[in-house]
């Protein structure tokens, strides 16, 4: 099989393979051609109606409609929190929230982006702080104003239990605060919607840093390694390996042992 495949690879026009891949990816890379679209929906961007292909996300639909983003877009893949969007659907009272890059368009969506959240972020030196609930209240006294209305949770596009982690903070449960807020992308929608004007994601940031630093010590194997480096343990090996030529390196690489699983 190997030899017949080898000849197949040889015969194959490699450039053609690349061209086929590019052709298949075209819709993703340079946008949908209107002629190929089967299903359309109507969305309302800040109140104005646009017909867009039904397969798009809010972000790509707005681009299709002609918007060039200089704000309200970042990673385009759900990590950065730049494209926070609020929307209501026709005939519904519920105000919904989502990341524009992660939410499919639906017919009758009225949407607006919230590309910026004004928020206080106090200065602190994590090394000087007490690992104690008072630290949270010292920097974010408004934390005590939480009325447990859960509006933050409803607004979270990551589906986090925001109120629960805020409450964990209030009761000084750093483990719960850190774990439950871990997937936060700091888009700001919780803070925008909070009737108590808490900036949940900044509180969580402080809580996670305290937890990360103080909950368990630096692993011993790391501390030991840092000491070894200070003592120059690897100097000679690095001097040698950095002076090797390609052939010697290739040989070493081919012969290197793999750690047992």
């Amino acid at each position: 099989m190997a030899s017949s495949e080898e000849s197949a690879t040889k015969k194959l026009d490699l450039q053609k393979v690349m061209d086929r891949i590019a052709e298949a990816s075209k819709q993703v890379v340079s946008g949908v051609e209107a002629g190929t679209v089967e299903n359309w929906v109507t969305i309302y961007i800040m109140g104005r109606a646009y017909q867009v292909p039904a397969d798009l996300t809010i972000l790509t639909a707005m681009e299709y409609a002609g918007y060039k983003f200089v704000r309200g877009v970042g990673c385009r893949q759900g990590f950065c929190g730049a494209c926070a969007t609020l929307y209501r659907k026709e005939g519904e009272y519920k105000l919904q929230a989502g990341m524009a890059c992660q939410t499919r368009v639906e017919d009758g969506m009225y949407l607006v982006q919230i590309p910026f959240t004004p928020a206080e972020k106090p200065s602190y030196d994590i090394a000087e702080l007490d690992y104690d609930v008072n630290t949270l209240f010292e920097y974010y006294p408004e934390l005590a104003r939480c009325v447990s209305c859960n509006t933050c949770t409803k607004a979270c596009p990551q589906d986090l239990e925001v109120m629960d982690y805020v409450q964990a903070g209030i009761k000084g449960d750093f483990g719960d605060l850190a774990e439950e807020s871990f997937d936060c992308i700091q888009c700001g929608l919780c803070a925008i919607r909070c009737p108590s004007e808490i900036v949940q994601y900044n509180v969580a940031q402080l809580g996670r840093r305290l937890y990360g630093r103080y909950d368990s010590p630096e692993p011993e194997h790391l501390t030991n390694r840092l000491e070894e480096i200070d003592e120059g343990k690897f100097e000679q090996a690095l001097d040698e390996i950095t002076s090797l030529g390609r052939e010697e390196l290739e040989k070493m690489y081919a012969e290197r042992e793999r750690e047992q699983e």
Binding site: R20, K26, Q27, V28, E38, D183, G212, E218, I229, E259
Partner: protein, 552 residues
């Protein structure tokens, strides 16, 4: 055409095909193809987009004249500036700082912090961002960060693994800096309070990465870059270091004699320009995924448009390894909304296997990235064993349910919350069904040539992170990119701070380097409409664009 019937998020025909993956799982629990020999690797690499013919040309102007680069990159290097000295007033500066950092991902932010730690006051540092501070590839890094901190491991072993992964083209002294500082970076992150995954006994969880000979990969669930960056940005903000957003640099300023002295910034919203003068400039602008080289979708963020390469090159800095591009083996290939998105290598190091249409595993899951990617392309387009999506893309299965077989029930939700969330938005449950993957444009391997302090061939200019070239050679290993950003962010920040504290003078602000570059462009017959940097890719609908008029 009739509407497709969907089952568990997949069209019925794909759902039927994936039953073969379920059927073969028992067999694959014990059978995994062996890693390829060097000869086999060389053979399959012919199918890599970098090695397949076409898509590249020689650079015709500048310090790297004659070197090979992907066509979209060559196009940007061989392009006219957005503004010339006749259009703007550079005689006085709007910002006067000691250190300007361009680019606010992990590298730039770390550079600013370490310059501050080295004694440059917070108000004498300015971090310039094209988008928001943190809209960067850094926060999208999922898998992890390498650091040789286990007893079984050593710095030279990390060096050798990285060298082999880079096909022995890495710059030795720069790679040495990377592996030497890696344990310190983990220490720094821990001190700052990053939540790095730990075992019950308090040691770090360390995973395999493609091409590593030991488990060396540290992670923070599958939000590693996000966690590292959030913590570092919080530290940056606590230090009150200067920062402006939505204000990309569109040109560097030099003294006309090869020293970088500042930059021209552009307000993306109002169109106003500002002049910065700085004794030292650190370029940390990231890579070029949004150029969609060879027509590939990308894992990169919106602003990954090679601005830094263009700016540095035009100012006279030398580049290296411009010919290679990293394609991540496993980008999402279905559904259409997430095509190209990164599915971390950590999925494979946790047990997920690539599987073809017959349900067979066809490649060792942890080959170096270029080899793994080529093997998947071969499966889809040479052996015709791929699975075609309704929009005509081909891919192979990544058998994610195997992760739970190997690590226990509930592991995916715990270790891959981001990925799981992404697929569940499209009704796909990656715990119970495989996902479809195909290589995606991921990383700029080369870049602005650097030394172990992050210095470039120009005085007054440092680089850090993806924009730099040398440390990874022609292929970067998993877990070495976030590491690179923090090691060389720190090194460049410290080196620039020493330079400033050593009495560096502010040089005059000129665009003379531009004048001579434009002259070369004209001599090379570069079409005058080609301009760079492009700052942002163009995704507007063609119908809408066709009817646009400019009245202001």
């Amino acid at each position: 055409m009739a509407e497709l019937e969907y089952i568990e998020g997949y069209p019925a025909y794909m759902h039927e095909l994936l039953q073969r993956v379920h059927a073969s799982r028992e067999k694959r629990k014990t059978y995994v193809p062996e890693a390829m020999s060097m000869e086999e690797q060389q053979k399959v690499l012919k199918l890599h987009p970098d090695y397949a013919p076409g898509g590249k040309r020689n650079i015709s102007v500048g310090p790297n004249k004659g070197d090979v680069a992907p066509e979209p990159v060559a196009d940007l290097l061989e392009a006219y500036p957005l503004v010339g000295s006749e259009e703007i007033d550079i005689s006085s500066a709007d910002f006067d700082v000691d250190i300007m950092v361009i680019g606010g991902g992990l590298a730039g932010t770390a550079a600013a912090i370490w310059a501050n730690i080295q004694g440059v006051p917070a108000d004498r540092i300015l971090l310039v961002n094209k988008l928001r501070h943190g809209d960067a590839n850094s926060i999208m890094a999922e898998g992890g960060t390498q650091a040789a901190d286990r007893e079984i491991d050593s710095l030279d072993r990390h060096y050798l693994d990285s060298m082999g992964g880079g096909h022995f083209t890495n710059k030795p002294d720069v790679l040495r800096g990377l592996v030497e500082d890696a344990p310190f970076v983990m220490h720094w992150l821990h001190e700052l309070g990053a939540m790095i995954d730990k075992n019950e006994d308090g040691t770090f969880v360390e995973k395999w990465g493609g091409g590593t000979s030991v488990r060396r990969l540290h992670s923070c669930k599958d939000y590693t870059g996000l966690e590292e960056f959030r913590v570092i940005r919080d530290e940056f903000r606590s230090r009150k270091i200067g920062c402006i957003e939505h204000y990309p640099a569109i040109e560097l300023l030099t003294d006309g004699e090869g020293t970088v002295t500042g930059a021209v910034l552009y307000n993306l919203e109002t169109g106003e320009y500002k002049i910065v003068q700085a004794k030292a400039t650190i370029l940390a602008t990231g890579g070029f995924g949004r150029l969609h080289i060879r027509g590939f979708p990308t894992t990169n963020h919106y602003g990954a448009t090679a601005d830094g390469l263009v700016l540095a090159y035009r100012a006279g800095a030398k580049l290296r390894d411009t010919d290679t591009v990293q394609y991540h083996p496993t980008g999402a290939a279905y559904p259409i909304q997430i095509v190209g998105y990164l599915l971390t290598e950590k999925l494979r190091s946790s047990g997920a296997q690539p599987v073809n249409v017959d349900g067979d595993s066809f490649v060792f899951p942890l080959e170096p990235r270029d080899v793994e990617a080529s093997a998947i392309i071969r499966e889809c387009y040479v052996r015709d064993k791929g699975i075609e999506t309704p929009t005509g893309l081909r891919g192979v299965w990544l058998d994610t349910p195997m992760i739970e077989v190997k690590n226990g029930e509930g592991y995916i939700k715990k270790a891959f919350p981001g990925m799981d969330r992404m697929f569940s938005r499209y009704d796909i449950d990656m715990t119970n069904n495989p996902v479809l993957v195909f290589p995606t444009l991921h990383y700029q391997n080369g870049g602005v040539e650097t030394d172990p302090q992050g210095r470039t061939t120009l005085d007054g200019l440092w680089v850090a992170g993806e924009v730099s070239g040398g440390v990874h050679g022609k292929n970067r290993l998993m877990g070495n990119s976030t590491l690179d950003t923090m090691v060389y962010g720190r090194r460049s920040g410290m080196s620039a701070a020493e330079y400033v504290k050593g009495g560096a003078e502010q040089g005059k602000l000129t665009l003379e380097h531009q004048t001579s570059y434009v002259k070369m462009l004209k001599e090379a017959d570069v079409p005058p409409e080609r301009r760079s940097p492009i700052l942002l890719p163009e995704y507007r609908g063609k119908e809408a664009l066709a009817r646009m008029i400019d009245v202001f």
